[in-house]
Amino acid sequence: MRILNASGCLDALAAPEVARQLDAFVTKTVTPLPREGSAPPRIAETAHGMLNAIGLANPGRERFLADHLPRLHELGFPLWVSVGGFCADDFAETCSRLSDVEAIELNLSCPNVDEAADSAAEIVAACRASTGLPLYAKLSAAHPDVAEVARAVATAGADGLSLINTLRATALDKHLRPALARGSGGLSGPALKPVALHAVSVCRAATGLPIVGMGGIESGRDALEFAACGADDVALGTVLFGDPGAPARVRAELAAACADAGVATPEDARTLAKSPETGRKVPA
């Protein structure tokens, strides 16, 4: 089981020693044009979670390719590039310009942009035609049937799934005004974990595609639960904010959590969760 960061939750150029603990670093989403992002305040703490409305702040495709990506390559760790856009051609153009990265994650589900995108399957199909690199589709659990979306992107040529993105949410300040300038934001943190586990479970049953599970992972035990539900790899997001040592800590805890659960590897936990003997199947 590899441990990655959730896109947008770490800047490897600002904190390379944190990124170095990961099995691969996932960039913040790159869009065709530069985006300054949302006005502040952009973040708010909630019960067992937080909201963010960063608004896909990024330098844009050209500056990313000319400046950021070479500097990331110099750091020497495996890279995943998160690609965003507002129509299938946006995504496909960026994919076609990428090489020498381990994978591309298609951000099909940012809750902090209003522009209507093409369907997930259309975007994946366009990207599939433009690159031979592994394509991971990052989906939202806000869809009424995320497994149906998973099947559609699998048919369109996705190589894997990243599950899940934040969920659109609102928090109010003490004056009953929206806590974020944008009004709403994406909910992350432990509050998201049960939603994410369910999405991983049903998408695993629906497609068999490799899954990077994420949403509220704080410990090795949490990571093992994602494995039990069908995740091959996991990504850490909000936990990195309070604990830059989280990747190494979670990796160490994962080994202990496996021992506690009586499994040799995280992958074995999936068998355990579905064991007919225990009768404790993960409901799909």
């Binding site: 904190a15 913040k28 992002g37 305040p41 990195l240 904010f241 309070g242």
Partner: protein
């Protein structure tokens, strides 16, 4: 940030009320106190995210922070008692430049917090002016015994001599007013932060005309970088 360590654990050595604020004393451990104006992320017990604080005092073996209980995180910090333990990360960000000729320290409310350590590091008992919203809040001026203190509706900016090298920390309107009076002032800015090391992109402030992360660019900023109307005002 060069380290990828988890926040180190630090025992509370004491907690005192200073007006409505709490002076929270932590065992220093292996942490450096850093440059005045830099900040530390303190674990807020029972909360998901740590909170940023500049260092108030650095007596031997301790790191001391002034906490204003304005929400659930800071209230939890104010409830800590000697022997309790929290995670601490820091020092982070860019602090004040100390190589100035005529220092004047300007604080507003909880913005007084970094000034005692700043005064100590500058040495020579630099002049300090502080503004508070009420006499109760002004009890915090005891941390800077030689300070000149005003209480609302008198504004601390009325005490600023324009030729000084101003170090300021306080609410945003005060900082803008200081910047208008002293275009070379160093201002300690504030913003909500989830991480303190550039990961969350939450703490952006308009710096040099663009939204930039305060934790990396600041929190101490030259007035000209944040106050684009300096010339129009002056």
């Amino acid at each position: 940030m060069q380290s990828s360590d988890s926040p180190s654990r630090h025992s509370v050595t004491g907690s005192e009320r200073v007006g409505p604020y709490t002076l929270l004393r932590l065992e220093r451990g292996a942490l450096e106190p850093g440059v005045p104006g830099q900040f530390f992320m303190l674990e807020a017990p029972g909360r998901l995210l740590p909170r940023p604080f500049s260092l108030c005092l650095a007596p031997p073996g301790e790191l001391v922070f002034l906490v204003d209980p304005v929400g659930p995180g800071t209230e939890a910090l104010c409830r800590l008692r000697a022997g309790d333990e929290i995670g601490v990360l820091g020092p982070l960000g860019r602090g004040y430049r100390l190589d100035v000729e005529r220092p004047l320290l300007v604080g507003g409310g909880i913005g007084s917090a970094p000034l005692p350590y700043l005064a100590e590091q500058l040495g020579g008992d630099p002049p300090v002016v502080l503004g508070f919203r009420s006499a109760e809040y002004a009890e915090a001026a005891a941390l800077l015994p030689s300070a000149e203190v005003v209480i609302d509706p008198v504004l601390v900016t009325e005490l600023i001599e324009p030729d000084c090298d101003v170090f300021a920390c306080g609410p945003e309107p005060m900082l803008h007013a200081v910047a208008g009076l002293c275009p070379t002032a160093q201002l300690a800015w504030e913003a909500p932060m989830a991480c303190g090391y550039g990961a969350c992109y939450g703490c952006v402030v308009e710096i040099d005309g663009a939204l930039q992360r305060l934790c990396l660019e600041g929190p101490v900023l030259d007035a000209a970088r944040v106050h684009t109307h300096v010339e129009a005002v002056a």
